[in-house]
């Protein structure tokens, strides 16, 4: 392998964010052919520094050379769709291996903390390790061989690693390399050790919170909010339970010891029994989603027992009446409880009517999916265990589980017809999709098909709206994870952990489009320097990928085609409570900003602004580069966050909007022409990234100062058009010259009138009528060649489809029927119009 000192890449998720650059502020610094000459010496210095910064930014963003002796975590990105499907196992194995035995120090630290009473890390950080270990053990293919990997840690943590008294410290160290402040240990974990680690860790877990949302108020105790979120752990434990069910290892021992299963039922698996509440009554609900622990027999035997106990003390309904009267009186005395008082008064002579009249706090979609999917699967397992031991009292649980199953099927049908309430939510998509993946892997035939449909649609939407695994899409919940603030990790387009879009993580595993993360590194193995191609995925966070790696779900070929091959232009519109709009082409994907939507949930008209649906920046994502949102071309709108307005100004390679931003990543190859009416900037990507084989593009942008309209004074609005440039040249590119000339004229000719309307004639000849709505400040494409193509959304239905002039890969009738068709003709047909009978083919 040729050693490339300069062109080898270091790209890791542990990187410095690159701030989006507002062209209005800095645009004049970068052009070598600019017409405006910078004469101010301070400004010249500023520009030089800026140039240095830009170079550094490019180095980081495109991925540049450094030596790194850490071993590869991830296989190389597949180059085509067929290869992407065929190499799933390689990616999955890499993720399982690193998590099963490459996070040993983390395992030990978590276990030590748990032993000391700190249960904060017993959640997904621990369970991702346990799921990987379980997968390693159950896979059997490696059972006779130990799992081998490396563990890396700072020298300061060496003592933690050497502390052999740590719980279940049975991994064997095979070698150690100390370089500077870093230690790399080669470890080996055999199956006996790994089984102990799984069983011991589960038995050390303790339920320390409730199922469902945190901070649900109630007046029962006036003690304040409840501590929730246990359903995430429950969901993970259910996966472990099912993965290990009936798995007997080659030494004839069950993967999970009976004592471990007992401990899971007695201490951990709290979601079981009857369907949980859709919402919590502030008087009686208190966030009680129906947590229950105990043996399967306990669950069977507690039916009616509680009622009987209470009835054995007093007249329960008389007590309830008195309780509520006293509560009303008490609420006058307790600060913070006065919100209840109006409902107390309204309930009149019958305080028990509070159960009916008091406000309800809805449980959120992701929590319900986690709770009810876990509840269903736990009930099934519990019933099987009772049946197996001849415990003939599971009928009530069986009846309850029918209701849970029906709810799940109806809910999945609803998502198929309308998309998620928390569409594209960050980070809640993870919770929802992992719950559905559990149903896919472990549910009965109908639930499996229903889950399959929802996973397919979600994956398909991601495939068409993303580019090499990156996307920036409108989403609902949580506003705080908007991901455009430069100093936050969340601006990274491959962020798959904190505040992340979980489809990014799933795509890394499912289709492996990590080309932009690949680097060439010099690695020292046994004292020998070797060059290793690898993809760098941050080890500390790689646990997020485990569930997708161990699930049996695979992308349908239609989806892989769109995500990987990207051979033809595609157009996709998606309507749900909000809207999404994408244009995909080999060299780029454009994602429209969408529209703002109200909060997903409200009580008495009050809602949490963090739960609203965001319109995002409209972004152009080049295929060949860009790891951070700041590396993308975009329109950021008048305001950030929940005040950003609708942007659906998108047609093929054309986009318009307010507050245009051009990325520093391409500043080195831009050509700027400024006139009194605005600035026009052209980009030839081949000139910026000559070593990258493509696909390349040309882009033209026109940036115009606002004079109060269509945006406030001091801002800019603009137009951009991007086109494929398969024959682009680094120097002397007549095609680019022609592009500049023609697009320059077209952009200059496009003006908005007093109604905010304008027309742009695109490179392909389309006459695109666009408008900045005076009142709503929405930017939209209205007509194309005088035909109305305005996108008004789905009105709450998942009305995926194309515009009036083009077909789209995903089409949906908003009633549960949908198709996914790739340009190669691969397709998936979905009919989930009847909730008990979901159908999917092939």
């Amino acid at each position: 392998m040729t050693k490339k000192r300069i062109t080898s890449f270091r790209v890791s998720l542990n990187r410095t964010s690159v701030a989006p650059r507002d062209v209005r502020d800095n645009g004049s610094c970068h052009s070598t052919q600019q017409t405006n000459v910078v004469t101010n010496p301070h400004k010249r210095l500023h520009c030089r520094l800026w140039s240095l910064f830009v170079c550094a930014a490019i180095w980081l963003a495109v991925g540049q050379a450094v030596a790194d002796d850490r071993p590869a975590l991830f296989p190389k990105a597949p180059r085509n769709a067929l290869n992407a499907s065929a190499t799933f196992k390689d990616r999955a194995d890499a993720i399982v291996t690193v998590n099963a035995c490459g996070r040993e120090l983390e395992y030990l630290n978590i276990r030590a903390a748990m032993a000391g009473g700190d249960l904060a890390l017993q959640g997904e950080r621990l369970t991702s390790i346990l799921i990987a270990k379980t997968e390693w053990l159950r896979s059997g293919r490696r059972f006779s061989d130990p799992c081998e990997s490396t563990v890396q840690f700072p020298k300061a943590e060496e003592a933690s690693w050497s502390q052999t008294a740590s719980p279940t410290h049975c991994a064997v160290e095979k070698g150690r390399v100390v370089e500077g402040d870093n230690v790399t240990v080669s470890v080996s974990v055999d199956s006996v050790c790994m089984r102990r680690q799984v069983n011991d860790a589960i038995r050390a877990m303790m339920k320390d919170s409730r199922l469902g949302s945190s901070k649900v108020p109630c007046i029962e105790t006036f003690r304040g909010s409840s501590n929730g979120e246990w359903d995430t752990n429950d969901r993970e434990l259910v996966r472990i339970l099912y993965m290990a069910r009936n798995v007997v290892l080659s030494n004839r021992q069950p993967l999970l010891e009976p004592e471990t299963i007992d401990a899971m039922y007695t201490n951990l698996l709290a979601a079981r029994g009857p369907l949980g509440p859709a919402s919590y009554n502030v008087v009686a609900g208190c966030g009680d989603a129906g947590d229950e622990l105990g043996t399967p027999e306990d669950t069977a035997d507690r039916h009616d027992w509680g009622n009987e106990l209470l009835s054995g003390i007093s007249d329960v309904f008389k007590w309830l009446f008195e309780f509520l009267v006293k509560s009303a009186a008490r609420s006058l005395q307790v600060a913070g409880a006065t919100v209840i008082w109006p409902f107390m008064v309204a309930s009149g002579n019958d305080p028990t009517a509070l159960f009916v009249d008091a406000p309800e706090i809805p449980e959120t979609e992701n929590h319900r999916l986690q709770i009810e999917s876990s509840r269903y699967l736990t009930n099934v397992d519990l019933i099987e265990r009772l049946d197996k031991e001849g415990y003939a009292h599971a009928d009530e649980i069986r009846d309850e589980n029918k209701e849970v199953r029906e709810w799940l099927l109806r809910r999945l049908q609803n998502i198929t017809a309308h998309d998620f309430i928390e569409y594209n939510a960050k980070p809640y998509t993870r919770y929802s999709l992992e719950s559905i993946a559990n149903l896919y892997d472990f549910g009965d035939d109908q639930l499996k098909t229903a889950a399959h449909i929802v996973l397919d649609l979600s994956s398909a939407k991601f495939a068409v709206g993303s580019n090499r695994g990156r996307r920036v899409v409108p989403y609902r919940r949580l506003v705080e994870h908007e991901g455009i603030t430069p100093d936050k990790d969340e601006t990274h387009l491959y962020n798959y952990q904190s505040g992340a879009d979980h489809e990014v993580a799933r795509a890394i595993v499912l289709n492996g489009q990590t080309q932009l993360l690949e680097v060439t590194r010099e690695v020292v193995v046994n004292g020998q320097k070797q060059q290793v191609q690898r993809g760098e995925l941050r080890r500390q966070e790689i646990g997020v990928l485990v569930n997708t790696a161990v699930s049996s779900y695979r992308l349908p070929q239609a989806v892989v085609d769109m995500a990987v091959d990207r051979v033809q232009p595609l157009s996709q519109r998606v309507g749900h409570d909000g809207v999404e709009q994408f244009e995909q082409s080999p060299a780029f994907t454009i994602s429209a900003g969408g529209m703002h939507t109200p909060a997903a949930y409200s009580t008495l008209g009050f809602s949490n602004s963090n739960d609203e649906g965001l319109a995002m920046p409209t972004v152009i994502i080049p295929t060949i580069a860009g790891l951070d949102v700041g590396n993308l071309f975009g329109f950021y709108g008048e305001s950030d966050g929940r005040d950003r307005r609708t942007n659906l100004c998108l047609w093929k390679g054309f986009a318009c909007g307010v507050r245009p931003k051009l990325p520093d990543l391409f500043a080195g190859c831009q050509t700027v022409t400024s006139t009194s009416t605005g600035t026009t900037v052209f980009f030839n990507s081949k000139k910026c990234l000559p070593a990258v084989p493509g696909p390349h593009f040309y882009l033209a942008a026109r940036l115009i100062d606002c004079n109060g309209f269509p945006c406030p004074n001091g801002m800019q609005w603009g137009l951009m058009e991007i086109v494929e440039a398969p024959d682009a040249k680094e120097q002397d590119d007549p095609a680019f010259d022609l592009f500049r000339t023609q697009r320059g004229l077209a952009l200059a000719a496009s003006q908005v009138d007093i109604t905010g309307s304008g027309v742009y004639v695109a490179a392909n000849g389309d006459r695109i009528g666009y408008r900045f709505e005076p009142l709503t400040r929405a930017a939209k494409v209205i007509t194309v060649n005088d035909i109305s193509v305005e996108f008004t959304g789905g009105g709450g239905n998942f009305s995926a489809g194309g515009d009036p002039l083009r077909s789209s890969p995903i089409s949906s009738d908003g009633k549960g029927r949908a198709t996914i068709v790739s340009p190669t003709g691969a397709r998936v047909d979905i009919d989930f119009s009847s909730w008990p009978n979901p159908k999917r083919s092939p």
């Binding site: 105790t221 003690r223 501590n227 509680g306 209470l310 008389k318 159960f355 309800e360 709450g796």
Partner: protein, 538 residues
Amino acid sequence: MKSCALMLMWLICLLPAKAAWAVTTVRLCDSDTQAGAGPNLQQALAGGGTIVFACPRASVRVTSPHRVPPDTVLDGGDAVTLDGHGLPGPFITSSSGRVFVRRITIRNFTGRPPSRPPAPGYLSLGRLWGSVLEVRGDAELDHVTIESCISPLNVSGDLVISDSMFRANSGAGPDAWGTTIIKRSTFLANESGPTLRSGRVDDSAFIENTGIALSVSEPSGPVGILHSSFQRNALALQLSEQSAFGGVATVSVRSNRFEDNTRGAIASFDIVEFARERGMPPSMIANLERLPGARYELAYDRFLRNKGARGAAIDVDLRRSGGMTVVGGLFIGNVAAGEGGAIAVRGGTLRVSHSLLRSNQSVGPGSAIRAVAGAAARLELSNSLVIENVGPGAAIDADAAALANVTIARNEGKGLAVRSPSSVANSILSDNKSGNCSGLSAQAFHGGNLQFGSTDCPGVAVGDPFLDALYVPELGSPALELGDAAICRSDPVRGTDILFQERLGSACALGAYERAPLRIVEQMRNDRPARGPAENNR
């Protein structure tokens, strides 16, 4: 060819006269020995196989005992009664294999005395021959009614009784030395019910039996008594303190109802004491003393209005047992003529949690619980309510006790009386008429505790816990905040309250409840589809 045919004939001759699977139809319906066309019952039983009847609504008089071959099936088709008219049994004897009896009524067979008296030095437990079935192998009864017989069943192997009725039988109940499974069956007005050594009783009823309704005798394997009801018997359930020699056996008693039994609901039986009382030789007693103790696990059982000399719900001696746990016990209105209105325990450890002891009554100490026999007797009580018990002594009277998150309130006598070092944590002692505490030092109290009314619990905070009608501390009660969260999280409280509502916060409540049981009450109130806003199913 000819030799082959001869060989075949010879082989056929070797076959039994009647294959086991053959079906014989009894058409002579007056008596078992009735002469006439076709086989009578006597002939059919002698031949074995499957025996059915062509006797619509007939009562067949049985005049003599019968021996059946292995795997005989006697199927009355829900239309036949076999009446012994006082005939000394056994009606059917089988020396091996299985006997199946189905859809038939059998009545009026009397027992016979033991064939010989016990040899000197041997213990006779009064074993009788089964008057209906005396089976050396296994027996299975399905939809069978046995009535007015004396000691009807004796089975050496396994016994399965399903959907059957035993009514007005005297002597010993069904007795099998192997595994006994009893499902959906009723034992009504018998002198004694069945005896189990291993196996399960499920979904059955024991009503108005005049002796012991059900016995578990030196279990040799797990025993489960589940989802059954015991009403108006003398003693509902007798549990052997010892297991068989194979090792400690667990007896699980779950979700049963014990109501209005007149000599107690559950009592233990000590075979060592029994042998001693019978004057058995010391060597034999020494042997019996080596039997391992049985372990009792009771869960979600209801004990209502039972009466007894002591411990009207549970009267056990745990000294030789492996201990007893009671989870979710409802003890209401039980009355003891002596000590321990609901529970009387001697020796060993009794763990009670998530239980309600209300309105029990005793003449002696411990109107709810009496636990004695030195420091070895230990009562561990958690997440429980001990309320409104009536008697001159303390509601809980124990030599030693460990209480955590217990509410002891409004009892007629004292609340808690102990005589050895004990501990009380996160508990409420309130309004007990004769005082809250006796025999406790300040060191006995851990975590938060609260007393009200009397102030005789040394070092315990005094304050009204404002207990409402369900004994839940009302809003604003100091009891809602005073609990030690570490105690609430750890054993035996384990992060739950009496109703298994979780105690997960940084603070927890004193007493049995963590909070008002509104969700359960709401479910009771509604008993209909959940209210509230429509789901977000657009």
